[in-house]
């Protein structure tokens, strides 16, 4: 460990820390562009200039390792003058197009221009243009505008060091240098939008979010991607009950700084409900109804079947339900009602990967296409394998009277008519659904539920980490979350109290569900409850509180340091 004094505040940091991170730990956020904790250090934007006592020349703080006893003057006149100079150089050729730039509001250049720039422009020379290299698609998700590029090369380093695909390079040199792909090749890899994430300015933006919403209008909810079992931590960015995008949240134990394009662009999928009321279908007639009637009908069908034979009811959970929801499902049907068949199925593949140095092998791999099979199993829902009721239903050897499907999208096979025909052999088909598909079309009782953005709960990811996701948008009126549906249904057997929240369910189940003992709802995995610490463990906190005051940052850093495990 090394003791470093930054602007009069002394902190102790690991010897491998660079001065920029040491400053951050001391609560001094040195502005920077090219530095990124996960990318190689190039020290070329020259924004993070600081003075170091005993070193005659001004230094780029990201390039200098700390030394015990080092005294850093991060806000001296010389340091500020150097940063003023760099800002001026960056701005002489940068277009004044913030009003039409998507990055505005979360642009490092804007932020740093406020923090370290001149109030006036001294140049009258024409600004550099890149005809033919502005507003151009360079891949399936990314649009590049080189007039805005500040040549920090983060995107290039992302593609060579993280994705390992090397699609981008600096082309030309000097004042003409710009970032591009080779002619005829695209920026097309599984994580390509992360190149836009690391872009500090509006040079790389994603097609999906471009011109959709000014970022300062966006509210953020901490959530977890449900695209696969990795469970990348995401921020659901939304406004007026519309989800606009996912951004990866830093979790050093899980997705590090990244997420894959597949998961990211599921965001807008979360919008919209095709059903605004429960639906009852009987003898070819379809009618919308109210929850009371629908749930009574479910109870009646289940009771009738159970009185004949409890095994004539098949309850299909889902690896897409939260653990709380799976627990309610198991408690109600297995416990209270006494149904033996409470199962779930999760699709395998395609394989998703996230690079993370904290994981043995360097890559976190997700094979299951659902986020929570571990939580479902822990909650008491059985994985449908060979000889399971679901398998027998599909091979024709078992026909339930009631089939209760708690997730209309539990497998991609719901678009397969053969598959649906097999399920339809049940006399009564109850389905939780949000989007119209063959299964919801076939349902006798259709219960409209909210998307991931409309609910809260916990998932258990591939590493066995419990990760909580927050509510982003309130579902439309009448639409309920799966949790609420199960609570109200359970009320009919006097099993649950409909007033319970996800937190209340969590508290009730945590003593008995493996992996949940001792966890607290408020801290469960929101920033990765056991994210192993590193010099950058506070990065996420800082991202969330970009403009917070130094005292608050200090407190956050101290907090993060307190929960620190080992260093990497």
């Amino acid at each position: 460990m090394a003791k470093v004094t930054v602007d009069g505040r002394t902190v102790e940091v690991p010897d491998t820390t660079n001065v920029l991170e040491a400053c951050r730990a001391a609560g001094v956020d040195v502005p920077h562009f090219c530095y990124h904790p996960r990318l190689s250090i190039v020290g070329q934007c020259r924004m993070c200039m600081v003075e170091i006592e005993g070193v005659p020349k001004i230094q780029a703080s990201c390039t200098v390792p700390v030394r015990d006893g080092m005294v850093v003057l991060a806000s001296s006149e010389k340091a500020l003058a150097a940063r003023n100079a760099t800002m001026e150089f960056l701005l002489i050729n940068h277009p004044l197009d913030c009003p039409i730039c998507d990055q505005a509001g979360e642009c490092k250049l804007q932020d740093n221009a406020v923090a370290a720039g001149l109030p006036v422009s001294r140049t009258v020379e024409p600004r550099r243009q890149f005809p033919g290299y502005d507003r151009t698609s360079i891949g399936p998700h990314v649009i590049a505008d080189m007039t805005r590029c500040i040549q920090c090369t983060r995107c290039i380093r992302f593609c060579s060091e993280i994705s390992g695909t090397g699609e981008l390079s600096l082309i030309e040199r000097g004042g003409h240098a710009f970032v591009w792909t080779h002619e005829g090749k695209e920026l097309d890899n599984a994580w390509s939008a992360c190149a836009a994430d690391v872009c500090p300015v509006g040079a790389l933006t994603t097609k999906e979010f471009r011109f959709r919403k000014r970022v300062w209008w966006l509210d953020k909810a901490r959530s977890v991607c449900d695209g696969c079992e990795i469970g990348c931590n995401v921020s659901i960015e939304h406004r007026d009950r519309v989800v606009y995008r996912f951004l990866p949240r830093v979790n050093l134990a899980v997705n590090d700084f990244w997420m894959c394009d597949y998961g990211r662009f599921r965001a807008e999928e979360l919008n919209g409900n095709d059903f605004t009321r429960p639906v009852l279908r009987k003898a070819g007639t379809t009618r919308e109804t109210h929850w009371g009637e629908a749930l009574d009908a479910v109870k009646a069908a289940v009771d009738a079947a159970v009185s004949k034979d409890p095994a004539s009811v098949l309850v299909l959970g889902s690896a897409r339900l939260s653990t709380e929801e799976s627990w309610l499902l198991a408690q109600l049907f297995k416990g209270t009602v006494g149904v033996p068949h409470v199962e779930f199925h999760a699709d395998l593949g395609p394989e998703r990967r996230i690079k993370n140095p904290a994981v043995p092998g360097g890559w976190l791999v997700g094979r299951e296409a659902a986020p929570n099979s571990r939580g479902a199993e822990a909650a008491g829902v059985a994985r449908a394998g060979k000889g399971s009721a679901l398998a027998r239903l599909l091979d024709g050897s078992y026909t339930p009277d009631v089939l209760y499907v708690a997730d209309a999208e539990f497998t991609s096979r719901v678009s397969d008519p053969e598959f649906i025909l097999a399920l339809c052999r049940a006399k009564t088909l109850v389905v939780h659904g949000r989007r119209t598909n063959l299964l919801t079309d076939a349902a006798d009782i259709l219960l409209p539920v909210a998307s991931l953005a409309g609910k809260e709960g916990t998932f258990v990811n591939v590493l066995g980490l419990v990760q909580r996701f927050q509510l982003a948008i309130v579902p439309p009126p009448i639409v309920r979350t799966d949790l609420e549906v199960l609570l109200h249904l359970g009320k009919r057997w006097n099993a649950f109290d409909p007033q319970w929240t996800a937190k209340a369910v969590f508290e009730r189940m945590k003593g008995t569900v493996p992996g949940y003992a001792g966890l607290e709802w408020d801290s469960a995995g929101l920033v990765g409850n056991d994210a192993s610490a590193s010099p950058t463990s506070a990065y996420d906190v800082l991202l969330e509180r970009r403009l917070a005051n130094p005292a608050e940052i200090l407190a956050a850093v101290a907090e993060a340091a307190g929960t620190a495990g080992g260093e990497k």
Partner: protein
């Protein structure tokens, strides 16, 4: 022509060179001739990494095909296990890899300080004018000449210095320019 042989200095700085930056296509698939293949194989024995052979391999490619096309970049990248974008980044960093076909005589006029003091800019302009009002980097209609401005050729005692392809020419002035050009066939 677009792209230009060497980035025309005259358009610098400020605006990028006229036309495309992207690698031009030569419209055919490329592979080394046996001779080039032998040189390439020998090259690889001289360095501890394959990547280190990139600059000399690009030289071989340029000698083979006259210029570095999109296909040449892809070919070299494949041979050395590099990404095409990386190779193109390297090609464009250096001025001597031609990014379009050039004339039989690539006339490179030095205009750096010692040559400037001896009137090199006038020679550069006169040279282009005489060959048919060529723009910097442009190739004459008959495909014989391409004229570019280059930085110091380390022939400052022979200012203004001119290099034609790989050959050095000393003291090319407005007076002897005609004679100099007529010797190039």
């Amino acid at each position: 022509m677009s792209g230009g042989a060497n980035t025309p200095v005259e358009t610098l700085p400020g605006q990028p060179p006229v036309g495309e930056h992207g690698a031009l296509s030569c419209g055919k698939e490329l592979s080394f001739s046996p001779g080039a293949e032998a040189r390439f194989a020998r090259l690889l024995t001289r360095y501890p990494t394959k990547q280190a052979a990139l600059l000399p391999t690009l030289w071989i490619a340029q000698e083979e095909w006259g210029w570095i096309s999109r296909e040449a970049v892809d070919y070299v990248a494949t041979r050395l296990g590099l990404s095409s974008a990386f190779v193109w980044g390297v090609v464009t960093f250096y001025t001597m890899y031609n990014r379009a076909p050039v004339g039989r005589h690539l006339i490179q006029v030095c205009t750096s300080i010692s040559c400037h003091l001896n009137g090199a800019e006038e020679v550069f302009h006169a040279c282009r004018k005489k060959l048919g009002d060529l723009k910097p980097g442009q190739t004459s209609a008959d495909g014989k000449f391409t004229v570019v401005e280059v930085e110091c050729l380390a022939q400052c005692d022979k200012a203004p210095a001119v290099m034609v392809n790989g050959d050095d020419h000393a003291r090319i002035t407005l007076e002897n320019l005609d004679a100099f050009l007529s010797e190039l066939k």
